[in-house]
Assembly symmetry: C2
Homo-oligomer: 349 residues x 2
């Protein structure tokens, strides 16, 4: 049964070095003899006061008598979250977009971001130029502003990028915790392309698959969709850590479960091509991260409205299942439950 | 003459590995064959729209129809900004406090922060416990909230901490750019303790000097002082990168200069003791970072008011010089200009 084994899993790690077949135990093994997730739950989460939500959401909220913002942070480490010697333009865009995707899942409009970088010695001027080109293009693409930041050099030979993005909340907030039994379960775009793209980079699926690699390199944060479904969707999350795991977060926090129909999961032509030749990769498609599509729930009565929004925006939105009373996430292939050994990556606090 | 040679110096780096005698060239040599400062100026700063200040200030501003916050970010890398195997409680506090110090220099009240960490494998539960203890204590000390964040592990063996702190601006903003000719130049607390504390850790000054080490480990952000002088000070900065360099930032951005009187620079008993035995370290005291005291300017007519504020708060505030028309920062020993070979560390963008 594909329910969440780690309800408190909270930190992203080891994306590139984990094995798709046994990801959870691999993470545990790679993070020393203690459970880092448990440590965050035990030692860090209690430091957060209520009202500054994050367990339930992709981002935190700041508010004061003079206003409020949605805030999110992602740290990307070379060799963990992106490949070594990545194209600097694509890297800049990805580092920004994974944060914008968090804002999208909250229905917030991107406003600005702080850019923190720890760079190894030997970074060239060409790297700076290409990196800045990526940011400039995406500042324009997403109408977002660089506010400031901090840059340091290091002796580790590894690029670390820490972006903190701020967004303006919509009229209504969108969380992970309000899914209701009977709600339809939707995803935007296609699922699995990014994780197969990473496998293509690692020469694990035989073939160049440029389109899949591109989807790994360059997510498309669903900002407009997130904004339009705000107030209609009962719960929303961006699929950064794997379809089953991220929907599992919605279920856990909403005290519900989900039934997903395998044959309704939207896949690109390239993903279907890979899958025809490697049927066992269906598990990877359901558990691999980095798609940065939105998964959301909404009452059946909103279905037509949601399909109209999708059509207006030209964004593919697909019903992949339904919210049920029984806890956990179950994936069905016809009438049979599919048994997976892994569900996705861990998540931030 | 002690004027700024690098007016655009923008990124903190190599704190622990640089040589006090030739810091600027050392930085250049350690950051490959390109000038990283110049790259930030050329490629990154142009990405910032006006209205999202940071060149002039310790932090950026975010505002929207529904409110505004002051935002700042600091990345601390083990072995660069703090010693390897640092006490986790002190490390947590320092990582938070250097950000709070930026807010203090803007006259902002701390509100909350995002905590990003990239941790090496092998971090123990004791480390987590002690780290969280440090944050818990300082959350209370400074009435600030953990909002959220992201944690990842790495294979570099190095701890990287990226905190983005948000503060509520005061009624008036305080920048670096409004110092006027004739203004008095003030600093809070004592200068040089932190850099001598680092030297004590490095066994470079002969003696334990626990008090100096403590000042290196644990800065005291001058939040209340920053708040009280907001509207009275014409310009303010926190001394993170060295007295002469940071005052140089005020001068450059205000189109003025500064004359500092060496014998008026406030020093602790311990620093004076070190200096008696190592008179050449006066340069290190004037150029070393990590004090996180405030340097600010104000019209002579405010002098009594400022001294009253200082007395009310129990914070030492000392007049160390005056703002002059001629650009640059000159340090006088009696009537003689002191010639330094280094001025401080580089700064963030």
């Amino acid at each position: 049964m594909a329910e969440m084994r780690k309800p408190g899993a909270l930190c992203k790690m080891q994306r590139l070095s984990t094995d798709a077949q046994n990801l959870t135990s691999s993470i545990a093994a790679k993070t020393s003899n203690i459970d880092e997730f448990a440590c965050i739950e035990k030692y860090i989460r209690p430091l957060m006061r209520s009202g500054f939500s994050t367990e339930n959401d992709d981002a935190g909220k700041i508010s004061s008598p003079n206003g409020s913002f949605i805030v999110t942070q992602d740290i990307l480490v070379e060799g963990t979250h992106f490949l070594r010697h990545s194209n600097p333009t694509l890297l800049a865009k990805k580092a920004l977009r994974v944060n914008l995707s968090d804002l999208a899942a909250m229905g917030a409009q991107p406003y600005g971001y702080m850019l923190g970088m720890s760079l190894p010695q030997g970074v060239t001027e060409e790297w700076w130029e290409q990196f800045s080109n990526g940011l400039r293009e995406d500042n324009k693409n997403y109408n977002v502003n660089l506010i400031g930041g901090d840059t340091t050099s290091n002796n580790t030979g590894t690029i670390t990028i820490s972006i903190t993005a701020m967004g303006v909340p919509g009229m209504q907030s969108m969380t992970r915790s309000q899914a209701k039994v009977g709600d339809f379960l939707y995803v935007s775009g296609n699922i699995g392309d990014a994780t197969l793209g990473l496998m293509a980079y690692q020469d694990l699926i035989g073939g160049e698959y440029f389109a899949l690699k591109r989807r790994y390199d360059l997510p498309e944060p669903r900002i407009t969709l997130g904004s339009k479904i705000c107030g209609i969707a009962s719960a929303c999350i961006d699929i950064s850590d794997g379809l089953v795991q991220d929907i599992g977060h919605i279920c856990r926090l909403s005290n519900v479960g989900a039934s997903i129909h395998l044959n309704q999961i939207p896949m690109s032509d390239a993903a279907q091509d890979v899958l025809r030749r490697n049927p066992e990769l269906i598990e990877r498609i359901c558990s691999g991260g980095d798609d940065y599509e939105l998964a959301f729930t909404s009452a059946e009565s909103n279905h037509t409205k949601i399909m109209h929004i999708a059509a207006d925006l030209g964004v593919k939105v697909t019903t992949i299942g339904v919210i049920v009373r029984q806890p956990g996430v179950e994936v069905y292939d016809g009438k049979n439950i599919v048994h997976f050994t892994s569900h996705g990556y861990s998540h931030k606090f």
